[in-house]
């Protein structure tokens, strides 16, 4: 076989189409050698190049008054006053978590942490959005346990609190679990650093862990050494994370920045050195020379292409002026972190890879980063139902039985089992811990605070991608309103199936349209995010799952309310227009109903008013509790308020047409159950009084009839035992 035809078949194994390969040859003016082919295959992969999503993402709003850093940098950032900015981003680590859930989740957290401190921000919080198949499956139980353990292991060890998150269990995620990790960081505005390499002659320094064969996976086909089957173990594709190494790396990076030693900083993530260096060169409009012989290795006999594409964790790349190199190395030594000068900034516009003295690869930066083909989607509404109806698991038909069934169901039960495995307190900023309020609240110096929530709902998006996504955005904003916070910016992770299939392309296009509409309605920019495609198996795609994280601000950390009813005698009211529907609801799911085609439309105007009303009332101290009505509808929301406060309630909904709809119908992001002193609530616009905080039972009446009357202790037991019972 000639080397040319060897390359041809290799490019396919590496995931490049024939057309893409030809384009590469055109750009280079020749065939790529193995180093160049490896780098192109990764830089032009879906994960790095967003080939199928770039066009859609360009339709999202990305500007705003408070925006400090938008999409395109390692993380986005918004201004929070006092000279401070809050950095944040969410990223997926779905496929690695399906392979090795502990390390997949751990390295997912590690990766998003690095993205945040790569722009100079100290990570101050982590949140996670997780989705698995139903817990009746042993594999899903195993994935849940290992993913939660992995997140805890990494976040706890590095000293960043995990303050929030969500976990859902739905059949379509059985073969493709979702692990989306979000990180929030804090930085003085003048300390923000970008990744653009600059200054011809400046030195490129690699610091952090040594480089091994982690994550090489598919690229191993390029290895010139012959490997038999028995040697497969020598080329691990699972990335192993070391949070202790990252802790040192984090402190080291922040100290380097504090001392003003860096021109640019970039973390090494997917595609390792090759993507980090290409991005740095591209942003700076420069070239970079890298000598792989200088890279500290942890495995013997690594080939240049392996060094370039290795995904060994806990590594950063920085650019520094020649006169600062010694000091940079000294700071790294102090933090017991390897650091080596491995290259330099040039004006060649090329990424040149050297091995010792010899050039082993020469890649035009533009070709790598900017010239990757972008594909048009061919969306088409699905002709038939894509998803099987969920199994029926709820037999109760009386309202009390249904409420207990819902509270104990996998999607609604208490997540205490999970969040107690996370340190939510380190760094002393946590004003609202998990389950205390609808959003996490973190104190800022000076008395104000930020709030953050992460939300998605795959099943509802499957019913109606545009409306479902709008709902996810509004539900996230509603969570913030409950703690008196005003949204400042949004990050998103789009988890979808194979976009080359028209029905998935349709889901994606409609969801992005909903995301854009939601952000525009809230007046906030998308600051950055991530796309994870090809999440599908023989049974078909996952539910289309856009996950959104919103950061907001509140002026007084002491005025952020909570979920729980606080005092006997307080009035309970409903704010916002709740026009509930069972379409796509948790009750419909537990009853085994097939997914409806379409969801009721949203009234954007009234949503905006409701959010503003609750936000203002929480800030003024008028409300002692605020909780948005979400999964499970009004009855579940009321139960959750009773449980969080340890107090009962007596509520009258008046005459209702359909009891099930009134109690359990959903309308995410639109309505709130609030409580407070009677006089304070009387002043609220459009607050519909429902009843009073009283006693130790939740009693819901509909005029003369009693719909349900349950002891709070019984509600508590159902909710507390839900997950543990399913995991046993």
């Amino acid at each position: 076989m000639t080397s040319a035809s060897l390359s041809e078949s290799r490019h396919r194994v590496l995931g490049l189409t024939d057309a893409e390969y030809e384009l590469i040859c055109q750009k280079l003016g020749r065939e790529p050698n193995e180093v160049e082919l490896a780098v192109f295959s990764l830089m032009w992969s879906e994960h790095c190049a967003y080939k199928h999503s770039k066009r859609l993402l360009a339709t999202l709003p990305t500007s705003g008054e408070r925006l400090v850093l938008g999409p395109g940098e390692n993380a986005g950032a918004v201004d929070v006053g006092g000279g401070l900015a809050v950095a944040f981003k969410v990223e997926s680590h779905n496929h690695p978590s399906a392979v090795e859930p502990f390390q997949g989740a751990a390295t997912g957290v590690g990766g998003i942490l690095r993205d945040v401190f790569a722009i100079g921000a100290r990570p101050i919080a982590v949140l996670d959005s997780l989705r698995f198949g139903e817990l009746s499956s042993r594999r899903s139980r195993y994935l849940l346990e290992r993913v939660v353990a992995g997140i805890g292991h990494y976040g706890n060890s590095i000293g960043v609190p995990t303050v929030g998150g969500e976990i859902y269990f739905e059949g379509p995620y059985e073969q493709n679990c979702l692990v989306n990790a979000m990180c929030v960081g804090l930085v003085a505005r003048e300390r923000l650093i970008r990744s653009a390499a600059a200054g011809v002659g400046n030195v490129l320094v690699l610091f952090g862990a040594s480089t091994g064969r982690d994550g090489i996976g598919g690229a191993s086909v390029l290895a010139s050494a012959e490997l038999g089957e028995a040697d497969e173990a020598k080329r691990p594709s699972v990335q192993i994370g070391d949070p202790f190494e990252e802790k040192k790396l984090l402190e080291c990076s922040l100290e380097l920045l504090e001392r003003g030693l860096l021109v640019a900083l970039q973390d090494l993530g997917a595609a390792g050195l090759s993507s980090a260096s290409s991005e740095m060169a591209s942003k700076g409009g420069v070239g970079l020379d890298i000598d792989v012989a200088k890279v500290p290795l942890r495995e013997p006999d690594m080939e240049p292409f392996e060094i370039m594409v290795s995904e060994s964790q806990e590594r950063m790349l920085c650019v520094t002026e020649p006169e600062h190199v010694e000091e940079v190395l000294a700071v790294c030594r102090k933090w017991e972190t390897h650091a080596t000068a491995i290259g330099a900034v040039t004006d060649s516009g090329l990424l040149r890879v050297l091995a010792g003295g010899e050039v082993v690869g020469e890649l035009p930066v533009r070709a790598l980063v900017d010239d990757c083909p972008i594909y048009e989607l061919t969306p088409a509404r699905p002709a038939r139902a894509l998803y099987a109806a969920p199994p029926r698991t709820l037999e109760a038909t009386d309202p009390g039985g249904m409420l207990l069934g819902l509270l104990g169901s996998a999607n609604l039960a208490s997540r205490r089992w999970a969040f107690e495995q996370y340190d939510c307190l380190v760094q002393s900023r946590t004003v609202r811990r998990p389950e205390q309020a609808d959003a996490a609240v973190l104190a800022l110096p000076g008395g104000s605070a930020i709030a953050v929530s992460i939300d998605g709902n795959g099943r509802r998006v499957a019913c109606d991608p545009h409306t479902g996504t709008l709902e996810a955005v509004f539900e996230c904003a509603a969570n913030l309103a409950c703690v008196g916070a005003e949204p400042l910016g949004l990050t998103n992770c789009l988890n979808f199936g194979n976009p080359e299939k028209p029905h998935v392309a349709w889901q994606l296009a409609e969801a992005v349209r909903g995301l854009g509409d939601g952000c525009r309605a809230l007046g906030i920019p998308v600051v950055g995010g991530n796309v994870s495609l090809y999440n599908e198996g023989p049974q078909g795609p996952i539910y289309p799952t856009p996950v959104v994280g919103i950061v907001g601000e509140l002026p007084d950390a002491a005025r952020c309310a909570g979920i729980g009813f606080a005092r006997e005698g307080d009035v309970i009211a409903l704010v916002g227009s709740l026009s509930p529907s069972l379409a796509g609801s948790e009750l419909a799911k537990l009853r085994g109903e097939p997914l409806p085609d379409g969801l009721p439309a949203l009234d954007l105007e009234s949503i905006s008013v409701a959010h503003a009303t609750v936000r203002a009332a929480v800030r003024s101290g008028a409300l002692r509790s605020a909780h948005d009505v979400a999964e499970g509808g009004l009855a579940v929301a009321l139960a959750e308020c009773c449980l969080a406060g340890g107090l009962g309630a007596s509520v009258d909904l008046g005459a209702v047409e359909e009891l099930d709809v009134a109690l359990f119908g959903e309308a995410p992001g639109r309505a709130f159950v609030v409580s407070g002193r009677a006089d304070a609530l009387a002043e609220l616009d459009a607050a519909l009084p429902l009843g009073t905080v009283r006693g130790d039972r939740l009693a819901i009446a509909t005029g003369v009839a009693t719909a349900l009357d349950i002891a709070v202790t019984d509600l508590a037991r159902a909710r507390a035992e839900g997950l543990p019972a399913l995991l046993d």
Binding site: K247, D423, A443, A557
Partner: protein, 226 residues
């Protein structure tokens, strides 16, 4: 009076401890692990976290840090030393406290507010408390099960070296005899698994942890006045 808070590679709650100490004493400095100088600290805090990644055993490597030699000498002269969580583990590994910390019986990391009972109140660490008083303080650890041979445990109890116990039903990790914190025989070194530095401000939780820092400050003020 000045607090010194040690920082090892991998320490996580050292700044939290420094902030808590500064609330009661105004001066609290971080002490780098490689520096033998305690910089005039009147009380030393060995903080929580994951020094050296908890590799080999929690605290097993940090105990050999240069600063720990000075801490041992400081303790030998009667200087007060407070070990919190990982700090407790380091002090046990260093032999400055009896016993050892093993993995939680539940085999999982657990972050939870726990109720403690003050068993012994006339110590440098608990003098601001009453005997029998309950303190609400968060615990967050994976390796917090206190263990010592039965004979040692009997001795500790006889000598009033058990300063804090988990209240009935509150033991989160299987610690022997519900022990949450113990002191050395001389009474000047104290280790506890729960985190008092995370219970010093109403905004973020209870303020019961302040009493431990206040006790230490009062103790040191007295020592300094002499």
């Amino acid at each position: 009076m000045k607090f010194g808070v040690i920082r090892f590679p991998g320490s996580c709650d050292e700044v939290d401890a420094q902030l808590a100490a500064a609330r009661v004493a105004g001066d609290a400095e971080l002490l780098w692990h490689a520096d033998r100088d305690l910089h005039g600290a009147d009380a030393v805090i060995v903080p929580g976290g994951f020094s050296y990644g908890d590799y080999l055993r929690a605290g097993a490597i940090a105990r050999f840090a240069p600063v720990m030699e000075s801490v041992a000498a400081f303790a030998a002269e009667g200087g007060p030393v407070l070990g919190i969580c990982n700090g407790f583990q380091v002090l046990c590994e260093a032999g400055l406290l009896p016993g050892a910390l093993l993995g939680n019986t539940g085999l999982r990391f657990l972050c939870r507010q726990v109720e403690l009972e003050v068993e012994t109140a006339d110590t440098p660490f608990t003098r601001a408390c009453q005997e029998g008083e309950r303190l609400s303080i968060p615990a967050k650890h994976m390796t917090g099960r206190y263990w010592a041979p039965e004979a040692t445990l009997d001795e500790l109890e006889a000598n009033r070296q058990v300063l804090l116990r988990y209240a009935p039903g509150e033991n989160p990790n299987g610690s022997a005899r519900d022990i949450a914190g113990v002191s050395n025989a001389a009474g000047n070194v104290f280790g506890l698994m729960p985190h008092p530095e995370h219970a010093v401000e109403e905004l973020t939780g209870s303020t019961d942890g302040l009493k431990i820092f206040q006790s230490l400050r009062d103790h040191c003020d007295e020592r300094l006045a002499v």
